[in-house]
């Protein structure tokens, strides 16, 4: 029930349904304007720092230091972006971030889907059931406990680079993702798989042709969470990646705290470029984001 109502919170279909429900429930069905206004006022708390980021990014160097953070840029200047692009070597940082994130998303969806399918369809066997709890245990491991040993191990096997970061991201996403996938697969009817098997399909074919396509909505949720966790992560790349020229975007932002601390317009242009991709992806996928949080919490 909860999951369904949230799954349908996306744009489009829902408002209609919700309005209808209110009418059916009797009583006043006029929208509450005071609450709406109050919430809009509260939303400035969300927008204010973002607004500051955007206007600061478009200011000239002189205007950015005058202390009037919320003043509109005049004139509008792109110098900040040009400088940030150069100082952080943005194309390289962006490419590395994209690489880490893509490997993480693909790796998480594929590995978690496969593992969850094997677990869900063999729940009666001890090995699979115990594997499930084994994978789940990582959800309760605080990262600092593993971090130092992970740094040593990745260094030893030559994975102290973006690929190593991506692999660790996949592993940390695995618990939560397997949990979501397993719950989802249990809800799928087994008849389709059985009839395919009677027609001579192998397990692998059943998974690839039938089960995996049916899991698409959950794959979307898992993928978005993997994307957000990987794109925004600071701790893992900053600890694991030995070569500072191979850093992801969030880590690169620290140069403005240490080396270029007074070029505020440049710093904010860089922050904006680092956060924009996540915001854009969120705007297009927010209903899966919402569904995912609730599913993860309630299970």
């Amino acid at each position: 029930m909860t999951q369904q109502s949230l799954l349908t919170t996306g744009p489009g279909q829902v408002p209609v349904r919700r309005r209808r429900r209110f009418r059916a429930s009797g009583g006043q069905d006029r929208p509450r304007w005071q609450t709406t206004v109050l919430l809009v006022l509260c939303s400035t708390a969300v927008f204010l720092p973002l607004y500051a980021t955007v206007v600061m990014a478009f200011k000239t160097a002189e205007q950015s230091v005058d202390g009037q953070v919320f003043a509109l840029p005049s004139p509008v200047s792109l110098d900040g972006f040009v400088e940030a692009w150069r100082l952080t070597n943005f194309p390289r940082g962006f490419a590395i971030s994209v690489f880490v994130t893509v490997v993480t998303v693909v790796g998480t969806v594929v590995l978690a889907a496969l593992a969850a399918y094997a677990i869900a369809r063999n729940w009666d066997r001890r090995f699979f059931r115990w594997s499930f709890f084994y994978l789940l245990a990582a959800m309760f491991l605080p990262f600092p406990v593993l971090a130092l040993s992970q740094v040593k191990l990745t260094g030893m096997v030559g994975l102290d680079n973006p690929l190593g970061v991506a692999i660790l991201h996949v592993m940390f996403q695995l618990s939560f993702s397997v949990l979501l996938f397993t719950a989802f697969i249990r809800g799928l009817p087994e008849e389709l798989e059985e009839s395919a098997r009677l027609d001579g399909a192998s397990t692998w074919q059943v998974f690839r042709r039938i089960v995996f396509p049916m899991m698409a909505p959950m794959s979307a949720t898992v993928a978005i969470f993997a994307f957000l966790a990987s794109w925004n992560d600071f701790m893992m790349p900053s600890l694991i990646t030995a070569d500072s020229t191979m850093q992801t975007l969030p880590v690169l932002q620290s140069v403005f705290q240490t080396q270029f601390s007074s070029n505020y317009n440049v710093a904010f242009a860089s922050y904006l470029m680092a956060m924009a991709p996540a915001i854009v992806v969120y705007l297009f996928t927010q209903r899966w984001v919402m569904a995912g949080v609730t599913q993860g919490a309630i299970k």
Binding site: T35, P49, V145, V151
Partner: protein, 308 residues
């Protein structure tokens, strides 16, 4: 548990039809191939480092080279180290304040966002937005606002302590960390509360309205008790997350001024460069034990929930 595990597989082997039994044995290998790669990678990258870390906490290792076992020396030292106590004190206090602030605000917002309002979908999307922004980047943005804009405002309005940067004041810097952490953490708590409130059947409210219950009364006697489970989930998940606080603190104060805002996670990481590797691994192990206790609490709570 042990008995079910022992009897079940046999029961399955006996039961199936001939065709299925044959298929099942052949299929088995594929299922193993689907699961085993994950298990191997997981063991190498998660379980092995955890075991290594815990083992090294009983040694005098500095992170490389030779070491010898020293038993519980590190643990004994930990309990009398004022720096460790300070980081636990700060982290626990910070987590407690943040968890309360986040849940009060998220609950109020959830009430608002599930009531009859205009632009509901858009407003929900707006309040969830902070969740998707990198913690370190948003901490840098707030860092600027706290050290430039807020003092300016404070001076203009003559607000005493706010005339100086919050981040430079050892007694007040934690407030900035709480604010930014809450800004980032409210969305996920909010979504869970929205789910909780939406799961209450509308009929309950109708009945209450018919009996003449006021809005406040309905909130107190229906909404609150029926979302109590979600409150507990949010408290436990939040507390667990805030204990791990790292990115936001690095971005805002980097543990300073001095060591006033140094979290446990930051203290543990200091062992990587500070030469007290084994000592901080002991710290991490203690931290792990605390996390296990919290996890046990969470498991108990969430198991109760799924009955719903």
């Amino acid at each position: 548990m042990a008995t079910t595990a022992a009897t079940r597989p046999r029961a399955v082997d006996r039961a199936p039809t001939p065709g299925r039994g044959l298929g099942r044995r052949r299929v088995g290998t594929t299922f193993y191939l689907m699961l085993v790669p994950s298990l191997v990678l997981f063991t190498l990258s998660i379980a092995l480092p955890a075991i290594m870390g815990i083992t090294l906490s009983f040694t005098d290792s500095v992170g490389f080279g030779e070491f010898s076992f020293t038993g519980f020396t590190n643990y004994v030292a930990l309990f009398s180290d004022p720096a460790i106590a300070a980081s636990y004190g700060f982290t626990a206090g910070f987590a407690l304040v943040t968890v309360l602030l986040v849940n009060v605000l998220a609950f109020l917002l959830a009430i608002g966002l599930t009531s009859r309002i205009r632009a509901k979908v858009t407003l929900r999307a707006v309040f969830v937005l902070p969740m998707v922004i990198s913690a370190i980047v948003i901490a840098y943005v707030f860092n600027f606002l706290f050290s430039n804009s807020l003092p300016q405002l404070g001076q203009a309005m003559g607000l005493g302590p706010l005339e100086e940067s919050l981040l430079a004041d050892p007694d007040l810097a934690w407030i900035a960390i709480v604010v930014v952490t809450a800004w980032q953490a409210i969305p996920s708590a909010l979504l869970i509360y929205i789910a909780g409130i939406l799961s209450i059947p509308g009929e309950v409210y109708e009945a209450a309205a018919m009996d003449g219950a006021s809005a406040i009364r309905r909130l107190r006697s229906i909404t609150l008790p029926l979302v109590a489970g979600y409150v507990m989930i949010n408290l436990v998940i939040g507390f667990k997350n805030f204990l791990n606080a790292y990115d936001t603190i690095v971005g805002l104060t980097n543990g300073g001024p001095g060591t006033a805002t140094r979290s446990v996670a930051m203290t543990i990481f200091s062992g990587f460069t500070g030469g007290d590797y084994a000592y901080q691994m002991a710290n991490a192990t203690i931290f792990f034990l605390i996390a296990i206790v919290l996890a046990a609490v969470q498991l108990r709570l969430t198991r109760g929930r799924s009955a719903f």
